[in-house]
Amino acid sequence: MNRYIAFGVTILVGLIASLYFAWMGGIANVSDAEPNLLREDFRADYALMVAEAFQTNTDVEEAVAHLAFLDAESAITPVEEAIDFGQEAGFSDSDLALLDNLADALVVFNPDFAPTPTP
C-alpha cells in the first residue's frame, strides 16, 4: 500500500513542478500581450500620454481612438482609473489637471461617458 501512496505522491510532485515551470516560463516570456493586461500604473501613464497629446490638439475623437487601445468598457474608464491611481501615487497637479481636462472633454463629447452616480 505504501508503494501506491509513494507512486501517487511522485505523480503529484511531477505534475506540480511541470505546471509551475510551464506556466511561470510562459508568463515570463510573454511577448504578445494585449494592452488590457497592462499593469495599473502603465495604464494610467498611457491615459496620461493621451491627455498630454489632447492638451495641444483638443481632438476628442482622436483621444477616444487612442483610449480604445486599453480595451476598457468606455473611453472614460481608463481616464478615471488614471485619475484615481494618480491621486494615490502622487501624480503632479498639472498631470492630474490634464487627466481631468480630458475626462471633462470626453463627457461633453459623449454624455454617455459620464460616470453613473451612485445612490
Binding site: 510532485v13 511531477g14 505534475l15 513542478a17 510551464a22 508568463i27 499593469r39 497629446a53 495641444t56
Partner: protein
C-alpha cells in the same frame, strides 16, 4: 538455504514523476497561463507601435524629453532611435499619418541628439587632454577670460528622487577639451552666486554645478556674458517612476 528477497531500485517513483510531468505539461499546453499586469515590453509588436506613437505624440505636446525617454525605456527596444525612425518612415508613406510621422521623427532626432551629447560628454570628461597631461589642473590657469561661449546642448536629466534641483554644466574650449577656471554666475532676484568650473575635479575640469531653489527664476552667465535666462527647477520622473527634481545638464563650447 533461503535466498533473501532481491531489493530492486524504486523505479516506480521515477515513473510516477515522469507521468506527473507529462500530465502537467499537457495541461499547461491545453490551459496556457494568462499573464496579467504586464509591462509595455510584453506587448505585441503592433501594440508596441501604438504605445511608441503615443510617447511621440505626448512628447510633441509637452516637450518633456526625459519623460519620453523613460517611457521608451519601458518598451525595451534595442535601439529606440531606430525603432522611432523606422516607424516614422512607415507613417510617412500614408497621407493620413503625416502628423504622427513628424512626431515620431522629431522624437527620434531629439533622442539621438541627447544620446550623442551624453556620449560626447562622457568621452570629453574621461579623456585627458594631451596638452594638460602631467599638469595639475587648477581653476585659474586657463586664460578662459577672453573666450566667448555658446550653449551647445541642454537637457533635463532625472537621476534620483533624493537629489535637489540643480544645474550641472560642462564647459569646453574650442578644441573640445574640458576647461577649468571659467567664471559662472547664477543670479536670481534673491541672490547672486559666482563660482568657477573645475572646483569639483572628480567630475572633470570643466564641470560646475549649482543647487536651484524651486520657484525661483535664474539667469546664467559665463564670464559676465548672459547665456540663459528664466532657468527654473524642474520636476521629472526617474526610471523607477518616482517623482524627482531634475538636473539641467548643459554643455557650453567656446567659440573658435
Amino acid at each position: 538455504m533461503i535466498k533473501p528477497p532481491e531489493r530492486r531500485p524504486p523505479f516506480y517513483l521515477v515513473t510516477g514523476l515522469i507521468i506527473g510531468a507529462l500530465i502537467g505539461f499537457l495541461s499547461a499546453w491545453v490551459f496556457p497561463a494568462v499573464a496579467v499586469d504586464v509591462s509595455p515590453a510584453s506587448l505585441s509588436a503592433e501594440h508596441k507601435e501604438t504605445y511608441r506613437l503615443l510617447v511621440a505624440l505626448s512628447y510633441a505636446a509637452s516637450g518633456d524629453l526625459g519623460r519620453a525617454q523613460a517611457r521608451l525605456t519601458l518598451i525595451e527596444d534595442g535601439d529606440p532611435v531606430r525603432a522611432l525612425a523606422s516607424q516614422a518612415q512607415v507613417a510617412l508613406t500614408n497621407n493620413s499619418t503625416q502628423r504622427e510621422a513628424r512626431a515620431l521623427a522629431s522624437l527620434a532626432a531629439d533622442l539621438d541628439a541627447v544620446i550623442e551629447a551624453q556620449q560626447a560628454t562622457q568621452v570629453a570628461v574621461n579623456t585627458p587632454n594631451p596638452d594638460e597631461q602631467g599638469e595639475i589642473s587648477t581653476p585659474f590657469t586657463t586664460g578662459a577670460e577672453e573666450a566667448t561661449y555658446f550653449l551647445d546642448n541642454q537637457e533635463l536629466i532625472c537621476e534620483s528622487s533624493q537629489t535637489p534641483p540643480m544645474i550641472k554644466l560642462f564647459v569646453f574650449d574650442p578644441n573640445h577639451n574640458a576647461q577649468a577656471g571659467v567664471r559662472i554666475t547664477v543670479s536670481s532676484l534673491e541672490e547672486i552666486e559666482e563660482f568657477v568650473t573645475g572646483s569639483k575635479p572628480e567630475f572633470g575640469p570643466g564641470y560646475a554645478d549649482y543647487v536651484l531653489t524651486p520657484g525661483q527664476q535664474y539667469t546664467l552667465s559665463i564670464n559676465g556674458v548672459e547665456m540663459l535666462g528664466g532657468l527654473q527647477a524642474a520636476a521629472c520622473e526617474t526610471d523607477a517612476g518616482e517623482p524627482a527634481w531634475g538636473a539641467w545638464l548643459m554643455l557650453f563650447n567656446a567659440a573658435e
